[in-house]
Symmetry: D2
Amino acid sequence: MAGNTFGTLFKLTTFGESHGEAVGGIIDGCPAGIELDFNEIQKELDRRKPGQSKITTQRKESDIVQFLSGIFEGKTTGTPIGFSILNKDQKSKDYNHIKDAFRPSHADFTYQNKYGIRDYKGGGRSSARETVSRVVAGAIAKQILAKMGVTINGYVKAVGEIQTNLPIESLDFSNTEKTIIRCPDLKKAQEMIDYIDSIRKSGDTIGGIVGCVIKNMPIGLGEPVFDKLNAVLGGAMLSINAVKGFELGSGFEGTKLRGSQHNDLFEKTNNKIRTRQNNSGGVQGGISNGEPVYFNVAFKPVATIMQDQKSIDKNGNLIDIKGKGRHDPCVVPRAVPIVEAMAAITILDFYLRNKAITI
Amino acid sequence: MAGNTFGTLFKLTTFGESHGEAVGGIIDGCPAGIELDFNEIQKELDRRKPGQSKITTQRKESDIVQFLSGIFEGKTTGTPIGFSILNKDQKSKDYNHIKDAFRPSHADFTYQNKYGIRDYKGGGRSSARETVSRVVAGAIAKQILAKMGVTINGYVKAVGEIQTNLPIESLDFSNTEKTIIRCPDLKKAQEMIDYIDSIRKSGDTIGGIVGCVIKNMPIGLGEPVFDKLNAVLGGAMLSINAVKGFELGSGFEGTKLRGSQHNDLFEKTNNKIRTRQNNSGGVQGGISNGEPVYFNVAFKPVATIMQDQKSIDKNGNLIDIKGKGRHDPCVVPRAVPIVEAMAAITILDFYLRNKAITI
Amino acid sequence: MAGNTFGTLFKLTTFGESHGEAVGGIIDGCPAGIELDFNEIQKELDRRKPGQSKITTQRKESDIVQFLSGIFEGKTTGTPIGFSILNKDQKSKDYNHIKDAFRPSHADFTYQNKYGIRDYKGGGRSSARETVSRVVAGAIAKQILAKMGVTINGYVKAVGEIQTNLPIESLDFSNTEKTIIRCPDLKKAQEMIDYIDSIRKSGDTIGGIVGCVIKNMPIGLGEPVFDKLNAVLGGAMLSINAVKGFELGSGFEGTKLRGSQHNDLFEKTNNKIRTRQNNSGGVQGGISNGEPVYFNVAFKPVATIMQDQKSIDKNGNLIDIKGKGRHDPCVVPRAVPIVEAMAAITILDFYLRNKAITI
Amino acid sequence: MAGNTFGTLFKLTTFGESHGEAVGGIIDGCPAGIELDFNEIQKELDRRKPGQSKITTQRKESDIVQFLSGIFEGKTTGTPIGFSILNKDQKSKDYNHIKDAFRPSHADFTYQNKYGIRDYKGGGRSSARETVSRVVAGAIAKQILAKMGVTINGYVKAVGEIQTNLPIESLDFSNTEKTIIRCPDLKKAQEMIDYIDSIRKSGDTIGGIVGCVIKNMPIGLGEPVFDKLNAVLGGAMLSINAVKGFELGSGFEGTKLRGSQHNDLFEKTNNKIRTRQNNSGGVQGGISNGEPVYFNVAFKPVATIMQDQKSIDKNGNLIDIKGKGRHDPCVVPRAVPIVEAMAAITILDFYLRNKAITI
C-alpha cells in the first residue's frame, strides 16, 4: 500500500482513475522562486494526449491541468503544488460489458484479487491515463533542469522489428517532433508509421522501444548503494504502464563484450576529464560522470486489441471479450513524453539530494 | 545522500568499505518468531564468496557473518538484526599505486567528484564486497519465503555470446549448483566455463546475464503506481554492481510481438485461474498474478582487467594503470546469489506491504 | 522540503494555501472495501469550520469536500483518495495591507526568509485552513477505527487559567458537543465560554489545552525505538498550528512523582491483564498496552489580535499592524476535531504497521 | 515495524539489545569531508554512561565505540558510518528471575504481546542502553553544527518538585558539568543531588525535567506542514525512554497568556530583525526564526525500584517482583547528553533538508 509517491526531495504523489472525477497529484518539494512557463507544461500534455494522430487512440481527452496551490504570481513558492485534470470524455457506458471480465494481459485480475474491489471503468487506476500526472510534474522538473542546461530527449527507437540504428551521438532531436511517431531518424520514422498503420488495420497492436538521452548532466548525481542513478531511473521507467525492460548504456548488448572493449578510457579534453566512449551510459558506480546518460525502455504491445479473445470472469466463467473501443495500436509515440517526464523527475530529485553531500 | 537503505517494511541498511574494518548492516522489520537456519545463511555467503573456483577471483575472504542483535534463542524477535562481517584478507598495500588514479569504468572518478574524498582501497564503498550484506539479508528473507512455499532460483543464463535457450519451464534448478558456473543447462555450462577460462588466460573479462525464476508467488504483491512489483524488482537488480539492464517476462524481445501473440489468455485449470502462457512474467498492472515471476539481469564485463590501460589521475595527469591484482574474469557465477538475495528481500517486503490492504 | 506527508502506510499528503484555489490532499494506503459514511465526514468538517458560534471567527468557509478518486460505489478501492475543498470566502483584498508586513508571532518572517517568496494572503500555506485536509483524512480513519471499536474523544480541557479537573474516567463525552466550547465538564464549559467572550470583547485572544482520550486500543501499536506510539502521536499534535506542547499520561506532573507512586501495577480482571492505574497513558515502551491512551495538547493564544501592534516589514521598516479582520479569540473549540483527526490517522497507521509483525 | 530509523537526510538506524552482543547503528547521509574529533565523541558517551556518580546506577558499562566504516584518515567520506559498542558488563544471570514477569511500567508486557517473543535480559531492546547509539550519532552531528556556530546545551531543569526558575537567558552553561546533576543553577543543583540521594536511600526513584537551549540557529529550518521543526523535535524527544512530555517556548504555561502578552514583537537591532521576547521558542510556523530554540522534556520516574511490587507473569499468575539490581534513582542527569544528541541530529537533518529549497 501507499505506493503512489515517487521521489525523495522532489516528490510526486498521484491520484485518479481513468473514469473518476479527475486525475492529478501533489508535487512536494519543488524548489521555490521558479518562474513557470505554463504553455510549456500544456505542450507536454498535448504530446501525451490521445487522439493526436491517426496512429494513436481516437479517444479525445482535453487534458487541461488546473493548478490549485504552490504557485504565486507565476512562481513556485516551495509549498506543495496541487493540481488536477478533469476526466471529460469518459463514455462510461463503454465499459459495462467488461464489469466482471478479466481482460487478457490487463490488470483486472490482479486488482480484483489484491483489493477485492475495483473500478472497472476504463481500467480504473491501472489505466495509462494516470501518467498524465507524471507529465505535469515532469514538465516542471524539465523546466528547472533546463535552467541548469540539462536537456532530456526521448524518442521512438523501435516499433516491432523496425529500429533506428543511428548511434546516440548522431540523433538529431530537432527531428523528433517532425513526425507523429517521434523517431528522429526520419527514414525509419516513415517505416514505423506505415507499419503501425497496417497493424491498426488488422485490429492488432505492436510493442516498441523508447530511447532517451540526457545531456549536460551534472557530475555526482546518484546515491549508492541502493539509490544508484541507474537503479532509481530504471525503477522510474519500469513503473510506467506496459514497460517490461530497461537498459542503460551498453545494456544487454554490452554483456557480450570483453572488459578491454567495454571499458571507457578517460582522457583530458579542453581541460575536462571525459571518457573516449560511453558504454557506461554516463553512470559509473551508480553516480553520473558528466557524460550523456542514455537508456532504452521496452514497451510490450498494448493488451487491448480489436479482435475477440476468450477469457474468464470474476465468477470463473468462460467469456468472450469483444474487440471494441478506442485504443492505441502502439503506445510508444505517446510514451515519449512520459519517459522524459519520469527522467526529469528522477534527475531533479537526485540533483537536490546531492546538495546534502556537504554542509 | 542516505541511499543505503532498501525496502519499506522489511528494510535493509548496509555499511562498509572493501578494506575498512567490516561490512554489515541492519535488517529492520524482520517478522518476529522466525526460527533461523544459520547454516543456510552461511551457505549463501559461500556461494557469493571469492576464491570458490578457478573462474572466480583468487582473493580469499572468509565472510563469516556475526549477528549482533534481533535474534534470541535462535529466533527473530522483531527488533533490528544488526550484523557484521569482518574484512580479513585486505592486503591494503595492493592499492597504494592507484591512490590517485581514476581506473577506467570504475567508480573512482565519480566518488572523488561527488564526495571530494574517497577510500581508494579496493574500491572502498563502490566495491562489490558491499553485496555480502545483501546476501545475509536475502538469506533470511528466502527462509521466510520458503515457509510460504515461495522458491527463488537464480542461474547463469549467458556468458558473452553463449546463452542457454531452454525455456523457463524446462530449467532444472537442481542442476544449478552442479557446476561452478551455475547454469542449469549443463551442456552450455561447460561451454561457458571453458570460455571464461580462455578469457581469464587472455587477461580479459567478459559480461553475462543472470536469470531468475520465482515460483509459487502469492497473488497480489506489488503497490501501483510507482512501486509496481516489476519497478521495485528492477530497481533492486539495477542497484547491484555492474548491472546495466533488467527485463521481466517477454522483456525486450516482447516489443517485437503483436498484442494478439503477446496477450496471456486466462483459463481455468483445477479450479484455479491461470494464464496459458506467461509473457507477463507473472506481473500484470504491477501486481503479481500467481504465475512464475521471471526476469533477466545484464552484467557488464568486470572493469578490472589484467592488461595495461591509459588513464587520468586526480590531478589530471596521464597515467598507466597496470593490470594486476586478483579479480573475477566474469562476475555472473558469483552474482547468482546476489540476484536471488535482492529478489527475496523485494518479494518479502511486498508480502508484508500487502498485509496492509485490509483492516 | 517535502514535509507535507504524514504516515507510513496510511499516508496523508496535503496541499493548499488559505486563499489559493483550493486546499486538499491525497490519502494513499487507505484499506480497500471500506464503506464510507459521507455525512460523518462532513460533520467533522463542520466541527472545524469557522463561523460556527459566537466564540469562533466570523469568517464563513463552506468547507464542502469533493472526493476525486479512490472511492467506487461508496467504498474505498485501496487506490489513492484525492480530495479538494474549494476556497470560497477569500476576501483577498483584506490582506493587501500586510503584503510586506511581518506580523508578530505569525509565520510571515520565517516563510519569507526560508523560501524567499510567499503567498501573503491569509497566511498562505501557514494558515490553519490547511488543517481542513487533516480533518477529512481523520474522519475516514476514525470510521475505520470505529469498526474495530476504537473511540477517539477530544475535548477542551482548559481555556487560559480555567481548567476542568475531572479525572479522565469521569469525563462524559456525550456532553462534548452540547456546548460551543466542547468541554464535557458543563460547569466549566460555561465559565470558559464567558471568559472567551470577554477576551474577544477586549480585542484579545487566549490560549488553551485540548485533551484527548482513545479507548479500546488494540494492544501492540507503536514501533520502537524511534516510532514509539507516544513519539509519533506527539509529533502529530505538535504539527498542528499554534501547538507548543504535548504530554501523555502523567506528563509533566508525573515528573514530580516517585516510582513507587507512578508505577502502574498489573492485575488480572475478568481474565484480562490490566493496570490498576494508568500513569503510562496506555503506552509502555512506546507500545500500546490496551489501556486508554490519553494526552494533552497546548495551544498558544492566537497571534492575530484586534489591537494595534508595532512590527517590521520585509524591507526592515518599522510599521504598525492594525488589529482588524475576522479571527478566533481562542482556537481550542475548533481544534478539537483536528486533534481527533491527527490521533485517528496516527492510530490507524500504527494498526496497519503492526500487521507486518508476523508473516 | 521498521521504526528504528530517525531522520531523512542525516539518518540514524540503530540496533541492539541491552544484553546482546552489541548495540550500535548506521549513520547514513553524514556530509563528506568532516574531520571528526573522536575524543569529543567519547566524552559524550562518558556523560551518558552508567556508574559515573553516586546518583546514577552503579552498573559499569565501558561504552567504547568502534567505527567500522565511513571514515577515512579521520574524515567522513559521505558513505554510511557503521559503529558498534560491545555489551560487556552483562551479568545475564541477574535477569532469570524476571524471565516471564511483566514488571510494572516496563515494556515487558507490551513487547511480549506485540512480538510474541522477547529478549527479557535487562529489558532487551526496550532498555535505555539503546540510547548509546543516539549519543554517538548526536556527537557527530554536534561537531558538524559547531562548525556553523550552533550550540546545543541540555541541562537538568527539575528533579521532582525542585526546579530552577532562572530564565533561559540567565543560565550559565559553563556550570552544567560542574556538578553530577548537570543543573547550571548551582544552588538548586545541590538541592537536587541531596534529594536524589535521599530518594535512592529509600529504594525509590523520582522523575524530572531536562531543558535544552539551542543558540545561533540558522533561520529557515523546519519543513511544514507535518515536519515542522517543533513537531520533529518533539517526536525526537518523545522517542527517548521514559519521556512523557515535551514543550517548546512558552509551552503549557503559555496557554494561560493572552495574545497581547504572548506575541513576540519584531524589532531591528544592529540591522538584524529580532524578537523582543521569545515565547515562540525560536520557531514560528514550524520554521526557525533565528532566536534561541528552547524546550523542556518530561521524564517519568524510573520504573525499577528497590521495593517489592506485585505483578503478573506471562502465564497470568500473580507474582512478586523483588526490588534488586543496579538502577538509576533518577534518570535526568544521564538523559542530558541524550536530549542534546537527539536535538543535534534533528537540527542537522533540517539544515540539510533546507538546502533543497533552492536549485
